[in-house]
């Protein structure tokens, strides 16, 4: 038996165009996947990888169409299928696992219904179908009892929802499975479990997997073969270890070097200074109503230092950063900024204090007013906190420059900016008032890994210029690339606090050890490691 006989998915010279503009969204893409193997489809947002993924299910998004090329699943050409044939293909031969199961599972239907309807085999009796549902739930390590089947999606955690989506895809034993960034939005521990499930299921079912992602670290960990997409074209394709060892295309090298390395000794060692810290939080306890979220938090940030707050979703890290910024009032405990107490509510802080503490939000797509130009976004807080500028253009240009954007961006509206550019504008807005402390709440989690690396470089430059940062994140690899000290939050308490190098090398708390173990340890072996983004 030759290898090609196992090939179950073959895409030849596929081109998808937008209508009516005839812009090619993906151009002449050819890939093939064998049974039991996973193809990692890597690229940044807008590179056309989701368009390619959906075309494997004969689905085109609104206003797009396949112009030429063919997609072949198990020997049959998808272009020749009728509408009914397409329906028969989906869920049986090709299944899809969505990026965000929270919005892809129907909120109004019980799991039993949603899982059961994905099983199209009409020859099965009701009892046999239910048995199959239970079997596949066990395989993805979820409970299979009636109580679980009666649940609605909102009663599950994010990781459980994603495993339900995986179960839903595998229930019909498809030949090909398309996974569209299924771990984005999950924290590392859950991501590790989900990836493990995907790997095991594709092997056991002999399914060909197409794993779409922007994160080289995840793909390197999971895929047998890697295809790199850039601006709608396939720029590199090969076995994973070969691509990792010898990336041929410059873009692949850029993607590889954008992944933050897990083990570094932090961004310079923490300096012990006599100077009192800029921000000192002591014995802080915070919550919402009667629910306690944080307990006994002690953190301090010195001038020019970056302290990372590391924790998974629900650990209380955003509550802490919002308390520092004066956005969350329900807390007790001490908070000293530059030797003076900070009032709980931002309203009661002095304008000077508000100017000196600035906040950058997680999602740049929601943090900018869509009806205002970049110039006005930056000047708004400046006018309010500093006063009417003599030369507004200079203020805007300087702020943009510090955020590594040219002053020509001042006239643009947010919708004319990419995600990374938006986040830079958010940073420019924060630095315009000349703050001493910047609170960054997961500011890279909505961005691609390649963009994330650029933002990290930017933050390091700001920090070198004397800015103190409180950097909130769930990504342990980022911590070691930006922070001097790290506070690990688990269930509202700081379980570990110390210099980054020490915490990474010899974590004392088992939770930190588990976090480090679950993060894909990415070691690019190619020679270009030297030009790692600094």
């Amino acid at each position: 038996m030759t290898r090609s006989e196992h090939t179950v998915l073959r895409v030849d010279d596929l081109t998808v165009i937008g209508r009516p503009s005839h812009v090619e969204i993906i151009s002449d893409v050819s890939v093939s996947v064998r049974r039991g193997e996973i193809l990692g489809l890597v690229g940044e947002s807008g590179s056309g990888k989701t368009t390619l993924g959906l075309s494997l299910l004969a689905h085109c998004k609104r206003a797009t169409a396949i112009a030429r090329g063919r997609v072949e699943v198990d020997g049959s050409d998808l272009a020749t299928l009728s509408e009914k044939g397409v329906r028969r293909l989906r869920g049986r031969a090709v299944a899809y696992i969505p990026q965000s199961p929270a919005s892809a599972l129907n909120p109004a239907l019980r799991l039993r219904t949603q899982l059961g309807e994905a099983l199209h085999d009409a020859s099965l009796s009701r009892a046999a179908a239910l048995e199959r549902v239970r079997e596949v739930l066990r395989e993805v390590a979820l409970p299979d009892d009636d109580r679980f089947l009666r649940r609605y999606p909102h009663q599950l955690s994010g990781g459980q929802q994603q495993r339900v989506a995986i179960a839903m895809a595998f229930i019909g034993r498809p030949d090909v499975i398309v996974l569209d960034e299924p771990t984005t939005g999950l924290d590392v521990t859950t991501q590790a479990h989900v990836l493990e499930t995907i790997r095991r299921m594709t092997r056991e079912y002999g399914t060909a997997g197409v794993y779409i992602s922007h994160d080289m670290a995840v793909v390197a960990d999971l895929a047998d073969e890697i295809a790199v997409m850039y601006r709608g074209r396939l720029v590199e394709r090969g076995r994973t270890d070969e691509v990792m060892a010898e990336p041929r295309h410059a873009y692949t090298r850029r993607l590889l070097s954008a992944v933050p390395l897990l083990r570094t000794d932090g961004h310079g060692p923490a300096e012990e200074t006599e100077e009192p810290p800029l921000l000192r939080v002591s014995a802080l306890t915070a919550g919402y109503g009667r629910t306690r979220v944080l307990e006994g938090i002690d953190v301090s940030v010195s001038r020019g230092e970056c302290v990372a707050l590391l924790g998974e979703s629900g650990s209380g890290k955003t509550t802490l950063s919002r308390s520092v910024a004066g956005l969350h009032h329900q807390f007790t405990g001490g908070m000293l900024f530059d030797g003076r107490p900070l009032a709980r509510s931002a309203y009661r802080r002095t304008p000077e204090q508000r100017r000196r503490v600035q906040y950058v939000f997680q999602n740049p797509y929601e943090a900018l007013n869509p009806r205002k130009r970049v110039r006005d976004q930056i000047l708004g807080p400046y006018r309010h906190l500093v006063g009417r500028p003599d030369d507004p253009e200079r203020v805007v240009a300087e702020a943009l420059e510090r955020a590594a954007l040219s002053s020509s961006y001042a006239d643009r509206f947010p919708e004319q900016l990419s995600g990374g550019e938006r986040q830079r504008v958010c940073i420019a807005r924060a630095v315009a008032t000349g703050p001493d402390l910047m609170v960054c709440d997961e500011i890279t989690s909505a961005l691609d890994v390649s963009v994330q690396a650029e933002i990290v470089t930017l933050l390091r430059n700001l920090q070198d210029a004397g800015m103190a940062l409180l950097f909130v994140t769930h990504n342990i690899a980022l911590v070691s690339n930006i922070a001097q000290r790290v506070a690990v939050l688990n269930q509202g308490r700081i379980v570990e606090y110390g210099p980054v190098g020490r915490v990474m090398a010899e974590p004392r708390h088992e939770y930190t050890r588990a976090l480090i173990a679950d993060t894909p340890d990415f070691q690019p072996s190619f020679a270009a490691t030297a030009d790692q983004v600094r």
Partner: protein, 324 residues
């Protein structure tokens, strides 16, 4: 959920009380009084005085109101000034007529506008969608009595002569068609528009895309995946419209000469018949409150998040806000 309903009923009762105070005050502000209107211009001062005594019109306004409220709390709506019958008996037949009319209108308008709205969403930006959106816009901007008059001119004896345009006690069931159709056309447009907007939103959602990518039949996608998620917000609009029927019925009854509560209310106002006015207004307000409560319950029941958490932790249900 039980607690939510109880709280809403309590607020409903408060609203009714406030309505009764306002209406009572309004009747006092009207010129003339019931005695004068009953006895006519030629009444002698002695007879007027005697009748006023009999109707308790001499007592202070507050006392009159308190007496009426006491009666109401004991289940007694009072006695009509003008025809000396107990209000409850007098209202029975008009109420039945009005409820028939409203019920017919609701039965026609709700499913039809849901279907038109859903179909417009499916045919978005095509002929059917444009036609229905123009049609609903025109209907929504024309008052219901104009619609009624147009219907009479076209379908009534003046035009095609298909249906009767005036109610008579001996008339057949077809005399209900034109008034019910008028009311249905008056309440339908907002329901159509809301259903269309909600369905478009739901059809664009990721879970509908996922259902299609699962290879489900388009009908299953529509009815099992899309419709249940659209029903919550639309139920609110349906309720508002059906509640509007309770008041909107007045003009239509007048137009088609149907002896319903609308006509009773107009006569009662002309006669300064305070107990009758109070009873009819409270009835209309009560229908308003009940229909809205029903819509909230349906909206909550269509949302599994609320439904499940209400079942598991009953005390929290009171805090649940209705999301539209």
């Amino acid at each position: 959920m039980t607690r939510l309903i109880a709280v809403r009923l309590l607020f409903g009762a408060l609203t009714l009380w406030a309505v009764s105070v306002v209406v009572f005050a309004a009747t006092q502000a009207l010129p003339g009084d019931a005695a004068q209107l009953i006895l006519g211009r030629d009444a002698t001062p002695e007879r007027l005085e005697a009748l006023r005594d009999q109707l308790n019109l001499h007592q202070p306004v507050a006392v009159q109101y308190t007496q009426w409220l006491q009666g109401l709390l004991q289940g007694d709506l009072g006695t009509s000034f003008s025809n000396r019958q107990p209000v409850a008996d007098f209202l029975e037949s008009p109420l039945r007529n009005s409820l028939t009319l409203m019920g017919l209108a609701a039965l026609v308008a709700t499913p039809a506008s849901l279907a038109v709205g859903a179909f417009s969403a499916l045919r978005r930006d095509r002929g059917f969608d444009h036609t229905s959106s123009l049609g609903t816009l025109v209907l929504a901007s024309v008052p219901e009595f104009v619609v009624g008059i147009l219907l009479i001119l076209v379908l009534g004896p003046g035009g095609l002569d298909l249906f009767a345009s005036v109610y008579s006690r001996t008339g057949g069931p077809d005399q209900w068609i034109l008034p019910a159709l008028t009311l249905a056309l008056a309440v339908a447009p907002p329901i159509v528009r809301m259903m269309r907007a909600t369905m478009i939103e739901v059809l664009e959602s990721e879970y509908v895309q996922q259902a299609r990518l699962k290879g489900l039949d388009e009908r299953v996608v529509l009815w099992r995946h899309a419709a249940p998620n659209a029903i919550g917000p639309v139920a609110q609009v349906i309720a508002l419209q059906l509640a509007w029927l309770a008041g909107g019925v007045v003009a239509v009854e007048f137009l088609f000469n149907i002896p319903g509560i609308g006509k009773v209310l107009m006569d009662a106002i002309a006669n300064r018949d305070v107990p009758l006015i109070q009873a009819v207004v409270l009835l209309i307000a009560g229908i308003y409150i009940l229909v809205n409560l029903l819509a909230d319950v349906i909206g909550l029941a269509a949302n599994p998040k609320v439904r499940v958490s209400a079942r598991r932790a009953a005390p929290r249900a009171g805090k649940v806000k209705v999301t539209t």
